[in-house]
């Protein structure tokens, strides 16, 4: 599998080159949010605010009202927890095209509880006018700017940084409101988002060998949530639906699926994998995913319970499950 580094940093300067209305706003996390190359390339369009997120958000609203496109960069946790009132009133209410890039969502931060954005989707989703996107691989990161740019209103983005795998074909961009169909099957439907998609792909790969037929969708648009292929997948399964997210199961992807299924009157069972209404502590991503039960093995164990069969899949089997780049459904050689 291809691993890329500083994807956003390089992509942003290309993307913003001719978009003179695009300004980058930073709150003292310029290198950590990969906007250092932008700062060096276009210093006149880079605005440093220091550690002052509330002011930065209201400033962004003011800049957007005058025709600029502020691209706000900081850690996800400091966007919604520190500046919620300002986002609600200076940005979301007037439906302004401010893009908020939330880095290190959920357990992707090396920091502890103070740095872990675990309820950001729940909070931001309840704001009227807000669009929410989440990146799951390098292709998502490379194309999320265009997806966000197609929205004439505020967008919150759960972003990835550093070394990122390419799971999806480079030529298949993230499309606003469109899920990626990674696998089709009749037994179980899995909706995954963000870094959980890679875990789910490993699990699906291993489960297929045991004859389990799975529909697996990668969700990059969490709000609005009205992709017909997703709604169809929620109903078309023998055993039910599983959601998997790097977020609390309260108010995130699992809750969204529950709302949609209830509204559609679906009788299917829903299992939500994610953080079970708890805070976490600081540790590595692998450790936390295992400890809090939302890695590939956790998904396999849940599916074993659902189909009432033990497959004997081990961590070693998963390590061997080599992930090729996945082509989308639109391609002839689709999975």
């Amino acid at each position: 599998m291809e691993i890329l580094s500083k994807v956003h940093a390089k992509n942003l300067i290309k993307w913003a080159k001719d978009k003179l209305e695009a300004l980058v706003l930073s709150a003292d996390l310029t290198s950590s949010t990969e906007i250092d190359l932008f700062r060096d390339a276009y210093p006149d369009r880079f605005i440093s605010f220091g550690v002052a997120e509330q002011n930065m958000m209201s400033f962004a609203g003011g800049l957007a009202r005058e025709g600029f496109i502020p691209l706000v960069h900081t850690f996800a946790v400091f966007i919604y927890r520190r500046a919620y009132d300002q986002i609600a009133m200076s940005i979301a209410y007037p439906n302004l095209p401010v893009r908020m890039f939330g880095f290190l969502p959920g357990i992707t931060t090396p920091g502890g509880a103070t740095h872990q954005a675990v309820e950001d989707i729940a909070i931001m989703r309840s704001l009227p006018n807000m669009t929410i996107l989440e990146c799951g691989d390098a292709t998502d990161v490379e194309t999320v700017l265009d997806a966000a740019h197609s929205v004439n209103g505020p967008v919150y983005i759960r972003m990835l940084r550093g070394e990122i795998p390419r799971l999806f074909d480079k030529s298949e961009p993230m499309i606003l409101g469109k899920a990626r169909i990674l696998s089709r099957g009749n037994d179980i439907t899995i909706l995954s988002s963000g870094i959980c998609t890679e875990e789910a792909m490993r699990a699906v790969e291993a489960l297929k060998k045991h004859g389990i037929s799975i529909t697996h969708l990668h969700i990059s648009t969490l709000k609005p949530f009205n992709d017909s292929s997703v709604l169809e997948a929620l109903s078309a399964n023998k055993y039910g639906v599983i959601t998997m997210e790097n977020h609390t199961i309260v108010g995130g992807l699992g809750s969204i699926a529950a709302e949609k299924m209830a509204e559609a009157g679906l009788p299917n069972k829903l299992l939500r994998i994610g953080l079970k209404d708890t805070y976490l502590h600081g540790a590595s991503r692998e450790y936390l995913m295992k400890e809090y039960g939302f890695d590939a093995m956790a998904l396999i164990r849940e599916i074993e319970k659902i189909v009432d069969t033990r497959f004997g899949i081990t961590e070693d089997d998963l390590k061997k499950a080599h992930l090729e780049q996945v082509n989308s459904d639109a391609k002839a050689e689709a999975l």
């Binding site: 002011n55 209201s58 009202r65 009132d85 209410y93 439906n95 006018n129």
Partner: protein, 300 residues
């Protein structure tokens, strides 16, 4: 000429107090002390300090239609009461929306809002809201949550400088907002970026919801605090028109301008003094008290 305009400002200020007093009596409640403290400030801003284009004729506030959304991009704000927007013209932002009633009265007195517009105050379906929103007359951004106004206006001032617009950005603030962290975040940003196209008029009436500010949470010495944040600060008598207008005539000098207008919350309506220290929202305790204000209004 100067004498004429100062006379007009004084008359407008008196008119604002009269309208807000009348409203407070008719509705048995209102933001009356804010009118007492800021009438000269708002009159002077609209009639002398700010370079705003006049409106063709006093505007009747439109009824509320819908909030901004993906289904409503044709949304308009209350900025139309401040005249058309142009690169060389100034802009006005009211930060404490609790002053909305005073602003509406000021718009009437300066020929920008139809006087019948005030009858829609706080009525269901009206844009003349008690705590104004951006669709309310004279308003353009969301500022009811205190401390948000200066940062948004700062963003607009920065954007105007990027676009090389020459018009200035004027912000009306209350002294209570200097208890808020975001205000100081905004001040440090304005001075860091040398945004001297922004001018801030602060109504320092010394009172807030809970009473006298020095008892609730002290903000003094405000001038020194602001100067240490890099602002160009003037302390003036907020009821003296020449004193209020002088700082705005100075050539911008690389720093945000702050005019601390020291005012009295019962200026022009002396019987209000007995309400001390509760000036934030005036309500009459009985008919007898209301009558006293009524007779005061008749002699006004």
């Amino acid at each position: 000429m100067k004498k004429d305009i100062n006379k007009r400002i004084k008359e407008a200020a008196k008119g604002i107090r009269r309208r807000v007093l009348e409203h407070t009596i008719n509705n048995n409640g209102g933001y009356l002390s804010q009118a007492c403290s800021s009438s000269e400030m708002l009159s002077a801003m609209y009639l002398k300090i700010m370079n705003l284009w006049p409106v063709e004729s006093p505007i009747m506030p439109p009824l509320f239609t819908a909030v901004p959304s993906a289904h409503n991009y044709s949304y308009t704000t209350g900025a139309m009461f401040n005249g058309p927007k142009a690169p060389h013209l100034d802009r006005f932002f009211l930060s404490p929306s609790q002053y909305s009633l005073v602003l509406y009265a000021a718009l009437i007195e300066t020929g920008r809002m139809h006087e019948k517009g005030l009858e829609q105050f706080n009525r269901d379906g009206s844009t003349v809201e008690m705590i104004g929103a951006e669709h309310s007359p004279g308003m353009e951004i969301m500022t009811g949550s205190l401390g948000h106004g200066l940062s948004q206006a700062g963003g607009i001032a920065m954007a105007r400088r990027l676009k090389r617009e020459t018009g200035r950005v004027w912000v009306f603030m209350s002294d209570g907002e200097f208890q808020i962290g975001q205000t100081w975040e905004a001040m440090q940003t304005l001075s860091f970026y040398k945004l001297d196209n922004i001018g801030i008029y602060v109504d320092v009436n010394g009172y807030q919801c809970d009473g006298k500010m020095s008892k609730v949470m002290n903000i003094e010495p405000l001038k020194k605090r602001l100067e240490s944040f890099g602002a160009r600060v003037f302390e003036v008598d907020g009821h003296n028109i020449d004193a209020l207008t002088a700082p705005a005539r100075l050539k911008p000098a690389g720093k945000p301008l702050v005019v601390l207008a020291y005012t009295s919350p019962y200026r022009g309506i002396n019987i209000l003094k007995e309400k001390a220290p509760k000036f934030h929202y005036i309500r009459f305790k009985d008919e007898k008290e209301k009558k006293r204000y009524k007779s005061f209004l008749e002699d006004f």
